[in-house]
């Protein structure tokens, strides 16, 4: 395991101490921070390692939120619902990936964007199951006080983040990660030397979807009410990309710090400039791409990290 990945695990470990310091507000922020980090890390598998510009994060987030929401409404307890969501989304994304990942570049970006639209419309129209545009109310899971509830969901999200980080580190150290790096550099060439690119890409797409869906499920259980325009919001697809770009594409530590930094900026902007918050986000994106295209990790000091593995 490289020093950067160890640093990531230590960093995530430190986050777990948050409930010792903060109240309900800090816990809410911490939960969202963990959620963003999950989305960004997951996106990084397909977008950073394999180099495919996926905009499907919102699709899987929404899928997970609705899958868990429907299961919870049917009386299934939280943990099995999340697990079922995770497995279902892994299979769904693996299958979809086998079809969609034949496309490259712009065409893949468009197809993954339209996946969000298709799923949103399907949920919108399946009123019997999902409540359609009226949204879906989700029964309270624990019902044991505000602070206990907040702590519970913080640790649930944190645990999921830890699992995601372990998955990403595992992928980056395994043959799968090596194969994905080959695909990013030259897909045709890796195909020629006998790499099963379709299998590798589908596996990456599946892995990048399942934790996002689980996070969506936890989010649904946490906020108790979801509606299609909320959980299938295209911003859920774009934010992880901005976070990854902010931190440094392909580097798990960079991506997680990008996610935390992004949340901090978002919170400051939300608080102070509520009317122009999306405009400020836009300015941030433009500045970032023009002036810091390789992310914060490119600012690192040379003596600490000798070379970046995935840039």
């Amino acid at each position: 395991m490289t020093r950067v990945n160890l640093a990531l695990l230590v960093f995530i470990g430190c986050v777990a101490a948050l409930p010792l310091f903060g109240g309900a507000y800090a816990l809410r922020l911490g939960t969202i921070a963990c959620m963003y980090a999950i989305l960004a890390l997951s996106w990084n598998v397909v977008g950073g390692f394999a180099g495919y510009p996926s905009f499907a994060t919102a699709a899987f987030f929404g899928f997970g939120a609705y899958a868990t929401g429907v299961l919870l409404n049917k009386g299934v307890p939280l943990a099995p619902s999340i697990l079922a969501t995770l497995v279902a989304s892994l299979l769904l994304a693996g299958l979809l990936g086998a079809v969609l990942l034949r496309l490259r570049g712009h065409y893949f970006a468009i197809a993954s964007l339209s996946l969000v639209e298709v799923l949103r419309e399907l949920v919108n129209n399946a009123t019997d199951l999902t409540g359609g545009g009226m949204g879906l109310n989700i029964p309270l899971a624990s019902g044991s006080g505000i602070l206990a509830d907040a702590t519970f969901f913080f640790y649930a999200m944190w645990g999921l983040l830890l699992a995601t980080a372990l998955m990403v580190i595992g992928v980056s150290m395994s043959k799968l990660g090596f194969g994905l790096a080959c695909i990013r550099q030259n897909e045709t060439a890796s195909d020629m030397v006998g790499l099963n690119t379709t299998l590798y890409k589908s596996a990456a797409f599946g892995l990048s979807a399942c934790f996002v869906s689980a996070a969506g499920g936890l989010y649904a259980a946490w906020v108790h009410y979801i509606d299609p325009s909320d959980v299938f919001d295209i911003l859920y697809s774009v934010k992880p990309i901005v976070m990854a770009l902010m931190g440094g594409l392909g580097s798990p530590l960079g991506v997680v710090s990008g996610a935390f930094l992004y949340l901090a900026l978002e919170e400051v902007v939300w608080r102070n400039y509520i009317q122009i918050h999306s405009g400020v986000l836009g300015v941030l994106i433009v500045m970032l791409l023009l002036f810091l295209p390789h992310g914060l990790i490119s600012l690192r000091s040379r003596m600490f990290w000798r070379k970046a593995k995935h840039v």
């Binding site: 977008g47 510009p53 970006a109 197809a111 339209s114 298709v118 986000l281 836009g282 023009l290």
Partner: protein
């Protein structure tokens, strides 16, 4: 008789869709940039038409003359100052950059115009004409006429003008165009400016027909996506074919399945096309 009505509706709608998509298709085809700000340009154009009609009672078809140069300059500057800096970067970067620009423009519009839906209502209204039970509103017909005219103008620019030939040359083979002495940066800016001008003009026409709000920009953008993929990139005829096909599918789908399933249908069609025929109806293989 309803068959004729559905076909006429599809024809009228299809020309409008083509007009929405054509600038988007040009930018995508020539610059290889997915221009997410396109939808907001359309809405901005619609607000221009609405504002000028409210304030000075200038009918929308005259606004076209004002909108085209204004949006051309806006687009040209945007490309020259910002996008040209990252034009060689991977898809992700250019796409995210235009997304950021779209956020800024859209937020500015929500800030100044509010999110209320507005409609440009001509006084007196233009009414509708009916022929053998087929009813067509006149304002739609007028807008369709102008949409076709705009499409024709772009076709002539690309065919006849020197700068148009240069745009096509860059699209076909960037490196060869550079060797022939084409200034690629300025051609990029011109193409983006033309795309923006077409978006602005499309917006002016949309103001005649659809209610306008900054929130509708994503709908327009979605239509442009689908039309481009269905028809094939970067060609005028492709956008026209894609627009007509999309409108036909939507009209027939709305008749049989109900209007709530139209979006699902069109995006499902998009995915099928992406997988089965990514070059579109009229596109040729190999031009990515």
């Amino acid at each position: 008789m309803w068959v004729a009505q559905v076909l006429i509706n599809a024809l009228v709608l299809g020309c409008l869709y083509a007009c929405i998509a054509i600038g988007f298709s040009l930018v995508w085809g020539v610059l290889n940039v997915i221009n997410l700000i396109h939808g907001s340009f359309i809405v901005l154009g619609a607000y221009l038409a609405w504002g000028l009609y409210q304030a000075l009672a200038i009918p929308p078809w005259y606004v076209l003359v004002i909108a085209a140069p204004l949006f051309f300059i806006l687009g040209y500057l945007l490309q020259w100052l910002l996008l040209n800096r990252v034009i060689t970067a991977p898809v992700l970067v250019t796409l995210t950059l235009t997304f950021g620009l779209d956020l800024i423009l859209n937020n500015a519009m929500i800030y100044y115009f509010k999110a209320d839906y507005r409609k440009l209502t001509l006084s007196p209204p233009m009414g509708s004409i009916s022929l053998f039970d087929v009813v067509v509103p006149v304002d739609r017909l007028v807008a369709t006429g102008f949409a076709l005219a705009l499409t024709g103008v772009l076709y002539l620019i690309l065919r006849r003008l020197r700068v148009g030939r240069a745009i096509v040359a860059v699209r076909l083979d960037r490196d060869a165009a550079v060797l022939m002495g084409v200034d690629v940066k300025s051609i990029y800016a011109t193409a983006f400016g033309l795309g923006a001008a077409l978006a602005g003009c499309a917006g002016v026409l949309m103001a005649l027909i659809f209610p306008i709000s900054p929130l509708t920009s994503s709908t327009f953008l979605g239509k442009a996506f689908v039309v481009c993929v269905l028809g094939g990139l970067g060609s005028v005829s492709g956008a026209l074919a894609g627009g007509l096909l999309l409108a036909l599918v939507e009209s027939v789908g709305a008749t049989f399945l109900g209007p709530s399933h139209v979006t699902t249908l069109s995006f499902a069609l998009l995915i099928v096309f992406l997988i089965a025929r990514p070059q579109g109806l009229l596109g040729r293989k190999g031009f990515e």
